[in-house]
Symmetry: C2
Subunit: 127 residues, 2 copies
Amino acid sequence: MSEKGSLICSVNVVDQEKIQKLEQILPDKEMTKKMAEIFKALADPTRLHIVQALLEEELCVCDISAVVNLSISAISHQLRLLRTMHIVKFRKQGKMVYYSLDDDHITLLVQTALEHVQEKTGESVRA
Amino acid sequence: MSEKGSLICSVNVVDQEKIQKLEQILPDKEMTKKMAEIFKALADPTRLHIVQALLEEELCVCDISAVVNLSISAISHQLRLLRTMHIVKFRKQGKMVYYSLDDDHITLLVQTALEHVQEKTGESVRA
DNA sequence: CTTTCATTTGAATACTTGTTCAAATGTAAT
DNA sequence: ATTACATTTGAACAAGTATTCAAATGAAAG
């Protein structure tokens, strides 16, 4: 943000038009920020693990803690994050709290990422 | 990871079977970690912005810096990260270095995230 | 060879984030 | 009320990360 203005390189001067065209097409900064937040929610192994488990079935905090093998407290903290991101929803029943996925898009995102990694890892993709 | 073992809550004891079934179905930890890394690559506004721009066309570092409105140095650092993640590839031509997307899955991920945000923001989704 | 310019790199800094521990809710049972 | 238990919360600490600045490459041109 400093070497701009007078110090614009020749290429930028030439392609100023290209830059402006891109700025028009691209989603605005707010949109990009929100998209980044979705990715960020899935960017932590613990949270992704939680989401993967909830992809299968509804689970209580205790269950999740067992599957992910992390303290109840740590899980609860992460669940709060996923809650505020509208990725999971919850349902109280007695002392227990049951969590499930709130959003359908998440499934597609996780699936796509899985395919990507499988391909890059050289795993056979048929079936 | 501490209140486990002897202190397992009654629910877990009952559903121990459920937990084991989940552990079988779910991708192993290595896979989950790799998936999280893909998401992490897209989890930063700056990097996502770069990727969105490259979705449209091949660009040099200078161009990207102009579009994202951040110092050349900052962009170069992020590009290195995207490079090691195999998300972008580059091509040298004289003094300039041109970057483009290395992976097809990224497009789908970004599109899905965009749709998700648009829905949650209450934007009309037709067309 | 020296200068110029696009890009990269390394160190430093400020900021963010995941986990832990201890304490607080809140619900159900004795 | 008191106890037991599932979950949440807040503070604190360690680890990770994005950006900046200054310096280093490396390629083309004078």
